[in-house]
Symmetry: C3
Subunit: 682 residues, 3 copies
């Protein structure tokens, strides 16, 4: 069976639409569709929270209103993304079948409420979900407007009920076969925690085991696998009845700070999706970072989700203005919505979709930003800026089919490593910062417009000139071998402190394993100096000093050469930054956490050495300007984005048309307005 | 039935007295009564925690000790405030009838302990309370010393047991009649939360729904109504048997910062009381504000409780020294007790009562400040200062019957609005500060000795020259109409940012509703700029600049005139402060939160415009001096209070007698000692 | 029956050893024993977590691996400390007998997990523990290498199950005999909490009573008594079968800040042990204090544990490098391990034992510092420094039998007082700091190398020249009499603010009791000024000013003379520091908390007055150098320790041999390397 592809001829604009809220409000839905036209919104995501409206009581269905929405969309030649409604079960379902409610880690059976509060294991829940999904597929599967299935909503969370305990035990039996193997992997002999019957296994709980590292990591893996297992049950009728319609589910980030979601291994999950989509809610206009710094963080997440399948993705949700769940919910400043939207397009999105089209009148998200607000209809700043983005996306129609240019640089990110590092009772509780360390590495490349992929240890390395593998605490021996093979064949590898410490079972590598890790870097880690927050060391590289904080590893060089050494403490003069020639490639080891300035210098050296810079038609005068290129055949679409609230200059080497306006921008100096964007065709 | 009035011929001095603790300590009760005489304490509140002493086992009563206390009081011609003992049930009651124990929001049945741990719905509890109350009324109802019933103690808290769930469902059925109406009001269609049977309703719980705004506000209302329902059961035998004895219960504030209690809507509750009383525990002598600033906060609460029934109130509890539950429990400095006591009298209290007369020897409040401490008897600073206040109150006997002079200014405070604003997932989580915004408005008036009422939307507006209505987020359309009518007829209205947003069901007003809100102010709110904590804007008024923080609303003027505009950001030059002529009145709109300095300037302008200043017999040289006037017929009692630890000057326009000393203070300059008070008769 | 003594001819070096983790790893145990030899490790503590290995299923035993460890130790002429395995029960035990699992204060039955999760009351648990202990005693009791029983591990925690409730009720019945006595002691009349049947008693719980002071302190006492009761059951078979083998259990401190464990009254517990041992985990090399400051804190704990039985103790656990549970887990700097080890020896330890010999490969403590780390074998800095300490201890063999010289100064520390003060709802929540106040007093003595005992109110006072009794909030009348008798007979007593407030039932002393307290100090406490954190007062002593913060007591002198008085606030010029001649002794009263500088001056005055300084063979130039002396017959072993990371000078009055090196150090100046130590024989 070939994977169905998303077939679109225009960039998607629109978003979550919950008209079942407004059935008693005459004229509202008419106005919604009128304003969609005004704002050139061509797409609605419907049904996300509609189970209660579609099946008001068990086996009683009401599809009329949804039929009507399909009809209206099709009159306007729009697109429908149809959601399965399992993200918010109806109240009657929980009342009649309490097994569908989750049990928390304390063993409390939850009450009905919120959204993600259903046991993914429950046979009843799976059966009921399949029923409603089958009906949706039968009824709407052949509608011409249907372009995509949106499965459930922001899947996540976990359940500790007896059904889940049983499933977890089965999962472990399948993985380990014998209790002896399980005990060995979890190192249960320590503290005398040997498991002598499968029934003794219990999920991690504050009332029981919280510190058995093997249990913890396996539970995280089980949660992903069980969620996927549930997901595959959900999509079964859709695959059966609508095999041509691709399937997605909307991924998340964890905070306003753009940290990957900690609940699920999206890399595994991505294999079950036809299209990646995600919900983007950065805290623009905050008081703790510049817009460009936050722009970098968003770009990194775009690259992460784009890399999952090495294909374009969708922004499934975003706010045209503000959210309602940040500590401080500030709206985008004028122009920021255009910039944020086009940044996503530049980064590989083929859509700009909102949560939600019309603001709810009540309940939990009533103040979440929406296209149509409680007051003002089409007269609000939000609506006008959305309409401008609608026009922009229309102007960009020709870029359909283009993709971000291929990256020569990859950064490794591994979900298991993130979990294991978070769980490690060592180092400092406050400074591990795995993703922030990835952000630190990424910063140089973003500022210099060098494309980067964010890949997993399971991905192929050979196509990259540079692979960066920061804080790879949990590293399988096989992966160390893979790194070595990559460098041997000419690759350039950058690794850091706190790497190669435990294996895939969260057991410490013993002696000098993994061997390839030491060989490829030509060093041996000796000990990690964990600094208290105010403590510092220093390194010197070239003629400049750089501060070292949080972690400083003492290493011994075997075959590596020293690039920089520590300036103080008992390991003064020992190596801090090294390079190792290995085969036809080179491996760099950054043994300590440094200030950003050093990384900028270091990667600048590497970028010049390897000529990583993309073809330069444009000279920019500020790191606040980001240039990202999408390519289709021989045509390049160059997005020039000013992330500053100041005017900034660029210089065009040749005259190029700005397809947002249709006007040609002549060679020479050009002044970019604050937060403004050019899309140049070349 | 006419409401019984509190009939007193002297100011009440004394307080909570728990002699059942000391029955085994010979001489202690004798000394208590001797020292009451010394300190001119004429009132004891007895029985507050005495259920266990009065009914040591079910149906076995022991009233002897209480008879004796009544006898002793009457020998000294004192007064008794008799408490019903329901605030602390006996242990045997909980053991025998577990239904009387509360269930918390997690569904845990609580154990016996603490004080407020009884289900207000429990039929058993209500029956047992009525039994003991009836016996008290029968036995003591005709005692000459009995002047007031004190019902239970500091009522508050909530219960989530099945009895309460059932009562809540009944309350909702009565309010909404149909599930359709309930679903519409709670906007349950969003997230598909439709309620399809009454049995599905459950109180808000972290295990279930926490974010259904309509459920949350209705639950808060139910808690008030159910507590009142319980209260009416409690007082039934008292009303029946002692119809001439007035009834109170002691109200609270939430913190050392003088924030209104969040647990109950006291405005509703007040209608069930004959006399308002409250427990005042400010954190005098702290290190984060001046005494005058805290004095302002106390004065505001006095005005709030005085306004509830537009009559004098009682201070039912206070500490002569310190409490035991502040983070830092510092005692009043010398003189502060006199100042604090007379501030309350000046603000409308007819009492100064303490918790408690004698310090407990053990258990939870053993270190709470009391008149008689563990050591020192009548030789402590505390006792001596209490005795001085006793003398002061005796000297003030003639003011009985006087009341604070009528206010021309009212500030609106609404319990539902406070709950709804707290619950709104929007704006900033840390800066809503509804009551603090009221305090900000109030500050000018307090510093300039201008009387203020704190009223509710249900109150009459017409008698006021100025009505201030800050942050009225939840505003019924009817109330907007009332505001408009008030201004049309010549009133002066001041409103602020974040007003008129939701209706009484916590549903957003749609389009430009409530219409009267926009008409009366002559503006339309466009969007609210929610600032991060360190962000600022500026306005200019007159020739002075003022900082803007937290919230800056963009508005469009329809009929209003601009008084000040923003100085920066994208809404630079748009209106920030406006005035609207409407009918024969004026409405001012403060679209942003400003520093205090602006409010002082603004209200100074208004106060001069409307000549709000009270008759000025006294010129003061410092905002730390507060002047409050009580009036009886043509006589004014002018309380001049120095809230500073420095000497301060005032100037008397005419010579006036200080009734605290009986001496006449001549016209001209007079130097007030730190924390000292004059009470001048005019 | 005489108490068996620990019979050793050399200082113990080694530590916790868990070889059952490595039975499947050929060669590991061989290497362990080889490296023990290298590091001169002569002692292993085995079996601590081995129940699951020794009894893999109920009644099925596997002692072979442990036999082998004994054999191997004996081949190397080493010592075994054999642990009873009750600190970590096997999973099958919890599965089969759920009663052995604890119930928490919320009534949750815990799941299996962690370590200390067994009910100390459970008859089943006690029976199963006795069974396995008996088998261990039978099998290993006569092994020549067995020198000590290590009972369970770091005993602590509490259980609220019904078995424990019943045991608590019995304990109370035994203590109080009647409910009347219980109610009187707990002062239950307040809040009407009278207990009318023993079944109503329940342990303190957030769901019930948390504030009944008498209940709280009795619960703390019960927890200690019940733990001891359990302990006596545990050791019964050992006492019976191996009456010559002494018994210990390892004590703890609560935090990286060296605060005594709050869970148990070790003073009571010590009476049931033959040898005191404790686990020492200071946070060396942190960023908030100097090494010398932390050294002082460790020395104080050494003195505390040494004083418990007035005999040498063992360091049962320590880390050769870092731990894994501090917020920041930094390793000791080079040299620090030697210094830390010898500080313990100097302070009275006859061992330096580690947790653990080899780092676990997985599970919760896999990153806790160990002698043999995951990488590097004997090549790590840690191993090398451990081996150096092994050599040091071997060089010190002759000090076996020596003890720290007898102290003339005692500080009183009382567990009940700590609990009662923590529980007092008064003063300030953040500044009570009982132990920190003890540290403050101790600082002067540590800096001047004056030996100090840390004793309890139950101990004899007469042998001390100075007794310091800080913040003795809960003080029995009998103890006040004891203090008075001590001073009357010539003792020197120093007391402070917040003393003599409540009696042993946590009931306030009434009137001027305890009488002897006032008599001995010649003062009466009047009131305690509790300051907010930023508030200050000042005292002057001599010609110097000192800051006062947190607490300033107003006192009245009866017979005392004033040494210093307050400089500001309303109690300006009243006495702050006093001296009272009483009998042939003197009592000093420090009425306020001062900066350290004052205490240094004050104790310097006292030390000179009483000539407390030990014989001075050495003049040191820095407070960072600590000198501690162990004595055997006429020989003194003088430990000279540099707690600074700088070189420091001392001056020897006479030439003395350094037994660490065997070299003689000549009289005159000598330069100590950073963190270095001399052990001089005199």
């Amino acid at each position: 069976m070939t994977e169905p592809k998303l077939a679109i001829s225009e960039l998607l604009h629109g978003g979550d639409y919950n008209p079942d809220q407004w059935l008693d409000y005459p004229g509202v839905i008419d106005q919604d569709f009128k304003l969609m036209k005004t704002a050139q919104a061509n797409t609605v995501t419907v049904g996300v929270f509609s189970w209660g409206s579609l099946e008001p009581s068990e086996g009683q269905y009401n599809f009329g209103w949804l039929d009507n929405i399909f009809d209206r969309v099709e009159v306007q030649h729009g697109h429908v993304i149809l959601a399965t409604p399992s993200g918010a079960k109806p109240r009657w379902l929980a009342e009649k079948y309490p097994e569908v409610l989750r049990t928390d880690e304390f063993g409390h059976k939850l009450l009905y409420g919120g959204r993600h509060n259903h046991c993914f294991t429950s046979p009843v829940y799976r059966e009921k979900v399949q029923q409603i999904n089958r009906l949706l597929a039968e009824r709407y599967g052949q509608r011409e407007s249907l372009i995509l299935w949106h499965i459930s909503n922001e899947l996540g969370g976990e359940c500790h009920c007896e059904l889940c305990q049983a499933a977890f035990r089965q999962w472990l039996q399948h993985k380990y076969q014998t209790l002896a193997a399980l005990n060995a992997a979890w190192w249960t002999t320590f503290w005398g925690h040997q498991i002598t019957s499968w029934e003794q296994v219990h999920s991690p709980s504050p009332l029981g085991d919280t510190n058995l590292k093997g249990l913890n990591i396996d539970w995280r893996r089980f949660v992903t696998d069980q969620t996927i297992d549930y997901f595959e049950d959900e999509v079964q009728p859709l695959r059966e009845l609508t095999s041509n319609i691709p399937i997605t589910t909307n991924f998340m980030t964890d905070t306003a700070d753009m940290i990957p979601f900690h609940g699920l291994d999206y890399r595994k999950f991505a294999e079950h999706l036809d299209v990646i989509s995600w919900d983007s809610y950065p805290a623009w206009a905050n008081d703790y970072e510049t817009t460009a710094e936050l722009g970098m963080k968003v770009a990194l997440i775009n690259d992460y989700y784009r890399s999952l399948k090495q294909q374009n993705f969708l922004i499934m949700e975003s706010s045209p203005s503000r959210v309602n769940w940040h500590p401080d919910n500030r709206a985008k400043r004028p122009g920021m919505h255009q910039l944020a939207s086009l940044q996503n397009i530049a980064g590989g999105s083929d859509s700009m979709l909102y949560f939600q089209w019309r603001q709810s009148r009540g309940a939990s998200e009533m103040f979440h930003g929406s296209v149509i607000e409680h007051r003002g209809g089409d007269q609000t700043r939000t609506f006008k800026e959305v309409a401008e983005v609608g026009q922009d996306l229309a102007n960009l129609q020709e870029i359909i089919g283009s993709q971000p240019v291929k990256a020569k640089v990859a950064i490794i990110f591994d979900f298991d490593n993130m979990c294991a590092l978070d769980d490690a009772e060592a180092y400092s509780q406050t400074t591990k910062k795995y993703w922030q360390t990835i952000q630190q590495q990424y910063t140089y490349f973003w500022r210099h417009d060098i494309p980067v992929d964010v890949i997993s240890p399971a991905d192929k390395l050979d196509d990259y000139q540079v692979v960066i593998d920061p804080m790879h605490f949990m590293m399988a021996t096989e992966f160390a071998d893979k790194l070595a093979a990559y460098v041997k064949n000419g690759g350039h590898l950058v690794g850091t402190y706190i790497s190669g410490v435990v294996n895939e079972s969260a057991l410490a590598h013993l002696n000098n394993a993994p061997q390839s890790f030491e060989t490829v870097y030509g060093i041996q880690p000796i000990e990690t100096d964990v600094m208290y927050p105010s403590q510092r060391n220093t390194i010197v590289w070239g003629d400049k000093k750089y501060q070292v904080y949080d972690y400083a590893e003492r290493i011994e060089r075997t075959t590596a050469q020293e690039l920089a050494c520590y300036q103080s403490d008992f390991y003064q003069n020992s190596s801090a930054i090294t390079i190792n020639q290995f085969g036809t490639g080179q491996a760099y080891y950054l043994a300590c956490r440094t200030e950003q300035k050093f990384l900028n210098q270091f990667y600048d050296y590497l970028a010049h050495l390897l000529d990583l810079f993309p073809d330069k038609s444009i000279v920019k005068n500020s790191a606040d300007i980001s240039i990202q290129i999408r390519q289709k055949d021989q045509t390049q679409y160059i997005f020039v984005m000013n992330f500053s609230d100041q005017k900034k200059n660029i210089e065009l080497v040749e005259a190029l048309p700005n397809i947002l306006t249709g006007k040609i921008i002549s060679a020479g100096n050009y002044e970019l307005e604050p937060y403004s964007v050019l899309v140049l065709r070349k």
